[in-house]
Amino acid sequence: MELAIGIILGACALGAGMAMIAGIGPGIGEGNAVAKACEAIGRQPESKSSVTTTMLMGCAIAETTGLYALVIAILLIFVAPSRLVNILVETMKNV
């Protein structure tokens, strides 16, 4: 029983950590977006405000995949363990 609970907790923590590997993608993508925006501002300083607005919008949309991973990681850390342990306890009672 203790072993099963331990496996559940450990697997949830590992899964959360693995889910956050998805943070690499948005990081690279946003870095590219900001680099290009800096280039554009350097070339045309008068278009700074519109470039900045567009860049922030693009960054927000590029961030979405990373945030999906974040939500899954948070569910795995805070919600999943207690539910899984409850299910385990109930099935053990029935057996």
Binding site: A60, L67, Y68, L70, F78
Partner: protein, 303 residues
Amino acid sequence: MNSKRKGRSSRALDILIIILAVLPILACIVLKVLTNPASEGINISGPLIYFHIHMPIQDLYITESQINSLAVVISVFWLCIYLTRGLKTRPDKKRQIVAEWIVEKVDGLVKNNMGSYFKNFPPFIAAIMALSAFSSLLSLAGLFPPTSDLNVVGGWAILVFILITHYKMKCGPWQYAKSFASPVALAPLNVISEVATPISMAFRHYGNVLSGSVVSVLIGAALQGLSAKLFSWLPGALSGVPFLRIGLPAVLSIYFDVFSGCLQAFIFAMLTMLYVANGFPEELYFKRKEKKNNKNNNKVKVR
């Protein structure tokens, strides 16, 4: 003499309005202090449940996020009344200039992003922005920000989704159904991407605010542990004071609470505008309207 008395009474009214704007937030703090169980160490939890009402199908839970967002609504209401009191054609108060600046900015934003057909949209966009920004800023007062509850943001996203669908339906339901099957083979994917719009909007806002609050809680706990290690040699009660926790987390809170919260409010409003404006089939709608007008004109001529 008369004008002096008038000025004094209006100033008293101003102070009353400010008190009315601050009062709900103070009430929320008092409610939280009274009901919050004492906790030690790292405490990351969802909204507290203040009380629940028994209903026939499912118990109705009144949570912290509902009460806090109601407090934000009341505060923003009184703030708007404060900003727009005593308007004059030649502004003599700073707050009228602030109010005019806000209205001008939102008008310009809507005009640039949505076109002239949506000229009655600025109040809605400004309301979304104010609600979202002030909800996120509540964490500065030590309260639970309602935007870090998925249910609140999900509700807003569903509202925006209904709005998008309404504007897509402007040319009739048949045209709406046809817009999914532009390449017929991709119709299921189009339906999925349509459903993904509100989900991604809700998750974006919720994830950003929640990740900020989680990181600031972790940093607070880490600094407390570090200062307990570093300053344990101090005599008496001084050893228990977390010195490193004073001031340092506030620097990070400028990014995680103020900047991130305001940016997310802006992005949510911006995405609302873009999705609604893109969903509206502008050319077809105006063509049909013109046709209808021509028909009506012809009828009038025949008569």
